[in-house]
Amino acid sequence: MLRCETVKDFLDALRDGTLGLSEVQEVRSHLATCSACGRESEVTEALRAAIRNRVSAPAAPAAFREAMAHLLARQATPMGWFARLQEAFRRQPVAAMALTAAMVLLVLVPLNLQMLFRRETVLPLVEESVNEHIRLTLHETPPEIPIRELQPLPVRHQRRLELFQSLSFPDDSEYHVTGGQVSYLLHRKVLTVTYYHRPNRPITLLVLPSTGIQLPDQPIGLAGKVYWAIHQGFRTAHWQQGPLIYSLVADSDEADLSRLVEKLQHK
């Protein structure tokens, strides 16, 4: 004869259909003879029915569904090499760095060809910046140079840190730098800095040499000559400052990004 405590435990397994035949029979006969367990089971069933029939959460809004469909369709293709590269970075960062340089060469050529056949042309700079942002924000491991714990840093990072510091705003809690790294983008060395704007709203800044990169002509707006784009659901801003190109990528709104553009231009 089953104890009441055991029966209570078995009830969900019974609903699940994961009990053995003999256990099912034992539970059933217990429920038939023990009124306490019978009632308990009935109350739980009523509660489950109430939850199933009357509880609901909102469905995804149409605009969000559309954006996701677009994003996923775009993401579906380049993932093969992308995922492999990400994996390589996790295992062997140094070798992967060299590999990236080689892969950027290999990958950019077909990407450029592919772009000829797209209805709207996406600047390689925009596309690669967004990819870099996705790669960095999906990273489980902390950035190569975490700014917040910068005391015991190896000497080889010291100069990079000076660079980071010139891009950080210690007094501004809205845009605080959490880290960065140096890697390769469009055949160039690129300095990447991550700002945590609001919780879970990282902004990626990429700084790279401007040689050979032509930004489309833009009207001069409040924040100077800035080229704005939206790619794969991310908002990007690009501008030239002396010999350097600055690219920002985020899923924040334009106003949030504009403020950072201005701060960086007046640093």
Binding site: D12, T18, R54, A57, R65, M68, F82, A83, P199
Partner: protein, 180 residues
């Protein structure tokens, strides 16, 4: 030359069919729309990237829910938000309650009461109840999504439901008092 069928595009399309369910579950975790969209987007992108890890024939929906739950917990840790579990103590009234009355209270519970009651539960209890009782995942799937042992799911389910029953009874008696 025949191009190979693009499996990643097919996979991306099958993700979309669970968008509402993912969105709904994220809605229970946070009421901030931006955060919900962020979570769901991240979940889909992660799923797409690790599509090769998905075993065909197993439950895609459960797999997606476990990615979402994992991502949510990761963010909670990043934001240093503590997931607090409030200590559970049985309602002293519940011992001598009328069983028939309780069934009536539950059957009469409005959507609003159920929503409020569920939302008042701490996250670990609420998620167990929602995954098993609302979304219909099995005990094993629920345990995998929440990354806890089966026994933990069972105890969270029973405590969560008990707390929900106590809340519903409190709402029920509250509203009838007000009418008198």
């Amino acid at each position: 030359m025949t191009p190979l069928p693009d499996s990643s595009h097919l996979f991306a399309r099958s993700l979309l069919q669970y968008l509402d369910a993912l969105y709904g579950f994220a809605w229970w975790l946070t009421h901030h729309r931006e955060e919900i969209e962020d979570l769901v987007q991240e979940t889909c992108l992660r799923a797409l990237r690790s599509a090769h890890q998905f075993e065909p024939g197993t439950n895609l929906k459960a797999w997606l829910f476990s990615i979402l739950e994992h991502e949510w917990l990761r963010r909670q840790r990043l934001a240093k938000r503590e997931v607090q579990s409030d200590a559970y103590s049985a309602d002293p009234q519940s011992e001598g309650r009328e069983w028939a009355v309780e069934i009536d209270v539950i059957r009469a519970a409005l959507r609003k009461d159920l929503d409020e009651g569920l939302r008042a539960l701490s996250e670990e209890y609420r998620s167990a109840v929602l995954l098993f009782d609302l979304y219909g995942f099995s005990l094993k799937e629920t345990a995998e999504i929440l990354a806890v042992p089966d026994g933990t799911v069972k105890s969270r389910l029973s405590r969560g439901r008990q707390m929900l029953r106590d809340k519903l009874r409190a709402y029920g008696s509250g509203s009838s008092d007000a009418e008198m």
